[in-house]
Symmetry: C2
Subunit: 110 residues, 2 copies
DNA sequence: ACATTAGTTAGATAATTAGCTAAATATAAA
DNA sequence: TTTATATTTAGCTAATTATCTAACTAATGT
């Protein structure tokens, strides 16, 4: 889970996930969306892969990357959970700070 | 939002948020939970503060840090949203990959 | 066989980050 | 007013990260 958060710390990598969300894409295809060199992108892919957020499938001379949504899901929900925050019911029940500063989005029935 | 993700990239800082979740705490009180020096903790508090995740209130000679849950909420939900992921209904609807690899934790009704 | 294409690995560098000790600041207590 | 406490700021170092170019590997096309 630490690896996931480390991976998410880079805006470019988050963007990669967004792109992959629509459909699996090759390394080169993804790289076209960024103003950095291919080796740099390759390094980012490695980080995402090691975090388990994407997986690679070699097809001829291209490599297709695919988003592993479940890993992202588990990390984010897991973290939210560790904070006692039930994302499903989002109203971020906050014991000590109920009146002070919390839940600006009236999402449930408050 | 980038600052938030950068802040969340450190396990210690995530732990600080978890501790603050229960109640606001002073810098020293928080620091006791970690095996690093106070100046190091102070630096972490600064990062969290700059991300908007905590705020500080000076009280005599101590500083009380308080979690700003809404900021975390907005960042996480915002990011999930940018991925087209509706956390509320968590089943991570994934256009191209529906059958391939998704949602390993039986969270809803599957 | 040779050239082209897709992508990586190697190796270097610059920037950022996490940690330390020592010193400074500010409040409170004696 | 001197001392003790809580926390930060300054200044340093070591580790990590993001980036680059050049060189390599593997697959395909001619």
């Amino acid at each position: 889970m630490n690896r996931v958060f480390k991976a998410l710390a880079d805006p470019g990598r988050r963007r990669v996930l967004q792109l992959l969300r629509k459909r699996p894409m090759s390394a080169g295809e993804l790289a076209e969306h960024f103003p950095v060199s291919k080796p740099t992108m390759s390094a980012h892919f490695t980080v995402l892969q090691e975090a388990g957020l994407i997986d690679a499938e070699k097809n001829g001379r291209t490599i297709i990357y695919r988003l592993r949504m479940s890993v992202l899901e588990d990390a984010l929900l897991g973290f939210a959970d560790s904070l006692g925050w039930d994302m499903k019911n989002t109203e971020a029940d906050n014991p000590a700070q109920l009146s002070t500063e919390t839940s600006r989005t009236p999402r449930k029935g408050n």
